[in-house]
Symmetry: C2
Subunit: 344 residues, 2 copies
């Protein structure tokens, strides 16, 4: 006769603990959000929205696509899943208030691993005043051993107008907040079986989006903003398309903003024969913020000018680096494309 | 050389169309919610919350667990995923405003199927004034052929206090709105390879939650409320635990409310040798609403008294049917337990 492992013991899994006990366990680690009126455990959560509007965004992370359990701890995965969503909230000019988590996992997933995920979600959201307020846990598909994590983040605009991708105008300056290329560099390291330099690997496991720079940019009059999740050239392209403009990246200014002082990108680039600027231009998942400002705006702390905006010509909207089309620049750098592509 | 299928052609898949084009396609079918200020296509959506609070809930549907593509069309799956979430919003006493959809699917998933899902989501949410305002589409795990659909619903309380599971008091009446047992009956039919009676099969494919009954119950002074997604006995158990009371189900009143006039449950029950009350008591996914009201409350249209609430004795909180413990009743009816259990 097989006996179930003791609660909390090393052999405990989602299947032996049960869905509802698991939810209780995760809830105990969720923290409390300032804006929470009704937290986990009821049919739905109730979150205060003092602005009278709520910002909402969803990102899905799939094991084997967005993370690997041998490369990232559960805590890392929680941090990363929260960061991907919280950065989207910041990119609207809002402050995060709450997370909801949908989780599909095999029944033999260790509960300790899922508790780590809950810890990571709470640790990433907590300093911003947000917490996990609800969610759903179900069994993975019968054919799959993979964890699928779908996180929804809510946020409050605090009276600010949302900063869309579509507001960039010719003559605006292009500015960047946060790191670029670090996650891509860390991924390149892990793919080759290495685990150092740790700073790069850590950046892949736990991105560090510049959350406060989002609302600050909105307050400073940013005309357009997005987070860089697919790569700078790709996301600048989305902004250019939405605004009907050409986004002009100044290569020297971008390099100065992202590669000075020299760090892990140069170190790994030299070892692997990769121009670090390839990671800066096309690496995804750092969740930097990219914004355009009127030419006379005073940029808030953390923001650096890396280019400008010009009118779309006969070629239509797009991205140029020192006047050259983004795709040509990416190709010359040996990057496979202008950014991360799903279903590639 | 293989050529990609023509856009919109019969061989078109998620992989040949690409993520961003797919999102455009889905967005075009999303409908427009009354409360939408910024819809799909930016970093996040912005939804108006006139109440100053937002109700939020997430449910995950996994192919092979919650639906099968040979039993349900994409449109059915969209309806079902939306209904599961929209019913949770109603169960708080709120009116739905928006949906966000996280989707993981194999690259060779036909886009036509996903467009059906989008149609189903929009068709279920639209009549309530809600629509899909955002989402994320990613590749399924490398080991999986299954679609995973995570839906988040938002709602507005319109000045009502949220009706929690924890407010039931001894002396309250227990009331039900909506159908029970139909989805479980339909599932039993499908499992045996049949596709009729159609009314039961249809109920499994597309539940019909009594959305308006939720806010109406809140207005009528409901003390506690939940939606019945795991089965009546199971969900009544959650309400009893949260309120610290005993929920007393009156078997005759419940049968009158759910099995009269006779319909597909009796028809299928007779054919399969199953007491239809087993489906009523333990079948999940109909998303009926269960609520408690003060004894002097006037029940709104659509609500029927099916029992009452008594104080918890030495045995603690729980559910009784005609005075007998729920587990005994379920066992006597031949049901495997008091409700649907994940990871069972």
């Amino acid at each position: 006769m097989t006996r179930p492992p003791a609660p909390g013991g090393p052999g405990e899994t989602v299947g032996t603990l049960g869905e509802f006990a698991l939810i209780d366990r995760v809830v105990a680690r969720a923290g409390v959000a300032r804006a929470t009126e009704v937290g986990p455990g009821d049919d739905a959560a109730v979150v205060r929205t003092p602005d009278g509007r709520v910002v909402a965004t969803t990102d899905v992370l799939v094991e084997g696509r967005h993370f690997r359990r041998d490369w990232s701890s559960g805590t890392d995965v929680g941090h990363k899943a929260a960061a991907a969503n919280l950065a989207d909230v910041a990119a609207m000019g809002a402050v995060p208030t709450a997370l909801l988590v949908g989780l599909a996992c095999p029944a033999d997933t260790p509960t300790a691993w899922l508790e780590e995920v809950a810890d990571g979600l709470a640790a990433e959201a907590g300093p911003l005043g947000a917490a996990v307020v609800g969610g759903d846990t179900v069994a993975a598909a019968p054919d799959s051993r993979a964890v699928v994590l779908s996180v929804t983040a809510l946020g409050d605009l605090g009276g600010r107008a949302p900063v869309l991708r579509s507001g960039a105008r010719p003559g605006d300056v292009l500015a960047l907040a946060g790191r670029l290329g670090w996650s891509g560099c860390g991924l390149a390291v892990l793919r080759r079986g290495f685990s150092s330099p740790l700073a790069a690997v850590r950046a892949h496991r736990r991105p560090e989006p510049p959350y406060a720079a989002g609302p600050a940019a909105a307050d400073a009059g940013a005309t357009a903003m997005c987070d860089v999740s697919d790569g700078l050239l790709a996301d600048a392209g989305h902004l250019a398309e939405a605004s009907g403009v050409v986004v002009e990246v100044d290569r020297a200014a971008l390099a100065a903003a992202t590669l000075d002082p020299p760090g892990p990108l140069q170190q790994v680039g030299a070892a692997l024969g990769v121009d670090p600027l390839a990671w800066v231009l096309t690496g995804g998942e750092d969740h930097a913020l990219l914004a355009t400002f009127p030419p006379d705006a005073t940029l808030p702390p953390g923001w650096t000018v890396v280019g400008g905006v010009s009118a779309a010509g006969d070629d239509g909207p797009g991205v140029r680096v020192d006047g050259r089309p983004a795709a040509d620049v990416a190709q010359a750098l040996g990057a496979g494309g202008t950014g991360h592509v799903h279903f590639g």
